[in-house]
Amino acid sequence: MSKNDFTINRREALAGIATAALTAGSIVPASAQTQQPIRIGMGMAMTGGLAALGKSALLGMQIWKDDLNARGGLLGRKVEFVTYDDQSSPAVVPGIYSKLIDIDKVDLVVSGYATNQIAAAMPTIMQKKRLFMTLFGLAANDQFKYDRYFQMQPNGPDARMEFSRGYIETAMAMNPKPKTIALVGADAEFPNIALDGARENAKKAGLKIVYDKMYPPNTIDFGTIVRSIKATEAELVFVASYPPDSAGMVRAAREVGLKSRMFGGGMIGLQSAALKTQLGPLLNGVVGYDLYVPEPTLKFPGIEEFLKKYQAEAAKQGVDPLGFYIAPFAYAEMQVLEQAIVAVGSLDEAKLAQHIHKASFDTVAGTIKFQERGEWAEPRVLLVQYQGVTGNDVEQFKQTGRQVILHPPKYKSGDIKAPFGD
């Protein structure tokens, strides 16, 4: 008996330690004074697979914060960030957001990068009825239908169709009209959705789908896949992929000598400096969706100054040196928040949400208006084609004419060069 008592006491003691550890350092003044800074909390991927874009996004937000504080802050208060690393793992996200809300008692929360993270935070956010500005969530609110959710990736109301719309419309404008298309992608979330849309868009356009396969993430040999596609003699090849396989597919297409009228489409990763410089001239002729490229048709007010600041700082921190993909939208996200707070004049989240639903916002990423599910009312997914890339230098991608916008017509900055592989 006595021996047992000992063991149990230990267990209870440990439970006690657990309680203590969980609550330690969590005593926060109950109400923030007006003089105190506005604290904005978020979990962001700073390690793991999503960290490259996570860090880029965070840098974008920090530049906004510094700009704002230099201007004297918001409602007369400085702005501060409370950030935690979500390690690219959705499993820690619920913990981070409950800590931010319950223990840190931050004034506002924004999301980390990517759909899984956003979805994992949603129940906590919804239960607490917080305003939630989110960054690059793929139709994450379609299920929750939460009315204080606003998402910054310009996918529009029907995201899955947008990643291939430009591709198909551009293809169908070619002369003669193409008849066949091959669809291929990684077996994971984004490529699945993009391919779904591509399938539908292709059918609508009357294209015959001659190849439609997925490959597992971490595939090494893409040559075999590309050869199978080549054997189908498809006129169009639509690829939906993540960074490592985007590179693999482009290389394999060159190695196998794939000749099609268009190649590319929904490839994540090509937007980042890392892959652009790795692939260099191999990119010529490849088309891909993009969100921002330095073309004259996209000169939104403030974007150039922002990118200048970003690129200077990014070089020091070792994050994506171009910052075209996520950083402008991270900055714009905070601009939306800022403009809404100024307009409402308080941090009342119900009013803020109402205002964001109604108003439109001028940001470095253009003028934004949100629809009822919190997506951009008007989608703005670009289709770009790489042209005239020489060598592997990163600087050339800051120039115009290397990533020519083919679609949508409103922002078109050049003409397609087809076929691919010549």
Binding site: I17, L22, S98, P216
Partner: protein, 333 residues
Amino acid sequence: MNMDHTTVTSGVTQTDKRRRRTTELMIAAAGILLSLLLIVVGRTYGDYFYVASYVVLQFVLLATAWNVLGGYSGYVNFGSAGFFAVGCYTTILLGKLFDAPLAVCVPAAGIVAGLIGLGTGYLSLRLRGVFFSIATLALAVMLQTLIVNWSYVGGARGVYVLRPDTSGPFDSYVQLLAIVMCLMATAAVIVAVVVERSWIGFGLAALRDDETAAEAAGVPSLRLKLIATTLSGFLMGVAGAPFPYYITYVDPASAFSLAIAINTIAMPLIGGTATWWGPVVGALLLGITQQVLTVTISSAANLLIVGVLLVIFVAVAPNGIVGLVRKFRESRR
């Protein structure tokens, strides 16, 4: 088994039996107490406390489940994430098919994962040591490939799981999840005690040391291993069952997560695999450390700590914290 084990009157076995009952009762009491504590403290500190407790207790459950096989019989399961994910996807499937409530999903998840555990038990007929471990790893990859290609449960794209409305006496759904997890972890620890101190645990301990010799001494090793693999699989499945409601969006990568595979092995090893309280201590220690680090250091270094702790313990204290405590007690004697 058609024999009455109580007829064995050798001293140790009988005291064991009495001792076991008291331990069981005390663990049950501690578990209920902890649940009550959760409610009280949670009211003060908010949902964060529930969320953190849920994660830590989930690891207590997983570590205990792993230890029932790995610690007691020496068969190392590398595929724990696979069993966890099976539990997880059982909930998703039943939710999609019948809108089944959690109370149904939990036992169902346990049964499905338990059956897969039974299958791995038959693998152990031919495979020992590292080969068994590699087979479990391969099994987890197979299961993942299956899920990735099964679009009904979301496939590679993943699936959203909306939490039901909070009902009954609970303030919030996370509170419910934390308490459910607390009770399940308590039950698992009791199961571990029962196994450890019964003829099953005794036979497993013998076959862990030397399977051939144990067989020669009349230990039905296959039967015992099947019990252990099934039980261990069952408990891991149970641990995964509430996860979809916790995370709300499940894709294969988050269900078959490496963090789960690693922690499930590291925690019992750091705590000590020989007794039921080793994995509990290991899970509490490592789980709480990770929770605290996530919101303090908040960098890659926090994963580093798991690795460093594991290496240090394996190298310096091979029997884990349990071993250290025993050494300490003996030195004081």
